[in-house]
């Protein structure tokens, strides 16, 4: 059958991380080709165009960052950064685990990709959300790492 109808809708989810996981599961059942919630630039990625809007997060994370899915090739030791890919020098998994301590995590379901509008990094199959204090931790570690590299 010829596809001649294109219906677009904006969608906002509000609920807990667990509910969000279930919500994403339902979206997944529709199949990526059926969903165009919003658009994100994911060049040469089959999931390009799919965005999940995670509005229901604590106020302190509002207007913080927009993350986007990185090339899976950049994953190292099960950890990579959504908004902020690790630099060449790499901070090492232990430091990332320290930054992740106590932070909210959202599990990633297979085939559901991207566009988290908040600072986050990825640890295995989880997204770890980064608040401004976490960002300070990240900058501090990064500065130490880069200072060693450049001097």
């Amino acid at each position: 059958m010829e596809k001649n109808i294109e219906f677009r809708i904006g969608l906002v989810f509000r609920g807990s991380p667990d509910e969000f996981e279930g919500f994403m599961g339902k979206l997944k059942s529709l199949g990526p080709d059926s969903i165009m919630i919003d658009t994100v630039p994911l060049p040469e990625n089959p999931a390009s165009g799919l965005m999940i809007d995670t509005v229901p997060l604590p106020e302190k994370w509002k207007n913080v960052f927009l993350g986007y899915l990185q090339d899976p090739e950049k994953r190292r030791e099960g950890i990579f950064i959504g908004s902020w890919p690790t630099p060449e020098g790499d901070l090492g998994p232990d430091k990332w685990k320290n930054i992740a301590k106590g932070k909210t995590r959202v599990r990633i379901l297979d085939d559901i990709h991207g566009g988290m509008r908040l600072a986050h990094f990825h640890m295995n199959d989880e997204i770890v959300l980064v608040d401004p204090e976490g960002m300070k931790d990240y900058i501090g570690l990064l500065v130490d790492d880069l200072s060693r590299q450049f001097r």
Binding site: R8, P41, S48, V64, W84, G140, L146, F150
Partner: protein, 330 residues
């Protein structure tokens, strides 16, 4: 553009010159067409204009604000700096008209930046110019070197010293509880945080990026248009673009070929891939000049200094967060 841009990617349209406001009616017409197209296509569109400010009026500013066009006003600094290179045809300096335009823009539009182009003659005034912009209320500052000038006589130590002075002004602004955005520093901060330039950041010369002259001729970058008389770099026209392929000089422009760059520890954070800057400075799209190298080194080190100094500054963290959010939200 709408047809060839992959879904989900943003299309950026920029008006520049010469002076684009000489053809404001045409700009309005083009914006209307883009708006009409973008309502039918799922692309995000952003518009920006770079003007010398001398023709800016309240009604134009209101149109730019209503249409969501990002505005950049070219002012090189205080009058004694600006008037060295920016004069009316009668020889009179244009500073007064330009600053009136900038002040009008700051008052009536929400997203305005100042574009200061520096030459080998005016680079020494840059710290003074940055302070000047802050006093007139311009907090988004773009500092761009004149790619057509010869920079061979400017020593790398001089570049480093000047950028360091600007960095001190930048840090002091945040320590004073104020804010400032300076492209030379902010761009490098973002690149450091990201871990280096990604493929999407690099030039899309003639592949995803084009400059169109008033004649309709197309070039692989707006900065390669020049006076539109040297058509050797022309890649077709607004009606028919010539695809970049094979032995075309821009085909491999992204890969810097000189050994010093390949072995440089700052390689990931360096804009040595900017084809038009390289071309005008060395005649080779893939070869950066010593001046570009010095500028890049100084900017990267300054960005690191800022991160070291302001890592606990709430205003700075907020600035970077909002700035990044805006960049990636576009």
């Amino acid at each position: 553009m709408f047809e060839i841009t992959p879904l989900g990617q943003q299309i950026k349209f920029g008006f520049f010159g010469g002076e684009p406001l000489l053809k404001f009616d045409l700009i309005r017409e083009i914006c209307s067409y883009i708006s009409e197209k973008s309502q039918k296509q799922p692309h995000q569109v952003s518009l920006f204009i770079t003007t010398n400010g001398t023709l800016l009026t309240l009604s134009i500013a209101e149109f730019l604000e209503k249409t969501g066009i990002n505005l950049c006003v070219s002012v090189d600094g205080p009058a004694h700096v600006h008037n060295l290179n920016r004069k009316f045809r009668n020889g009179r300096g244009s500073h007064e008209a330009a600053i009136n335009g900038l002040e009008l823009a700051l008052k009536h539009t929400s997203n305005v930046a100042v574009n200061a182009v520096y030459t080998p003659e005016t680079i020494f005034y840059l710290p003074e110019s940055v302070n000047y912009f802050l006093t007139v209320g311009a907090q988004q500052i773009h500092l761009n070197f004149d790619i057509l000038s010869s920079w061979n006589e400017i020593a790398s130590e001089v570049v480093e010293k000047i950028i360091l002075e600007i960095t001190k002004i930048y840090c002091q602004a945040y320590k004073n509880g104020e804010g400032v955005a300076i492209n030379l520093i902010d761009n490098k901060i973002l690149v450091l945080l990201k871990g280096g330039y990604s493929d999407q950041d690099r030039c899309g010369m003639g592949k995803t990026e084009w400059g169109f002259a008033p004649s309709g001729r197309a070039y692989p970058c707006e900065r390669l248009i020049g006076d539109d008389k040297d058509t050797s770099l022309c890649i077709g026209s607004v009606e028919q673009l010539i695809p970049i392929a094979g032995d075309h000089p821009f085909e491999d422009e992204l890969s810097c070929s000189i050994e010093e760059c390949i072995n440089c520890s700052l390689r990931s954070y360096c804009m040595n891939w900017c084809g038009c800057s390289n071309y005008y400075q060395t005649g080779d799209f893939r070869k950066p000049s010593p001046f570009i190298c010095a500028s890049e080194r100084a900017s990267i080190r300054s960005a690191l200094l800022v991160l070291e100094e302001l890592r606990e500054n709430d205003g700075f963290i907020r600035h970077i967060a909002q700035y990044v959010s805006r960049v990636y939200a576009q």
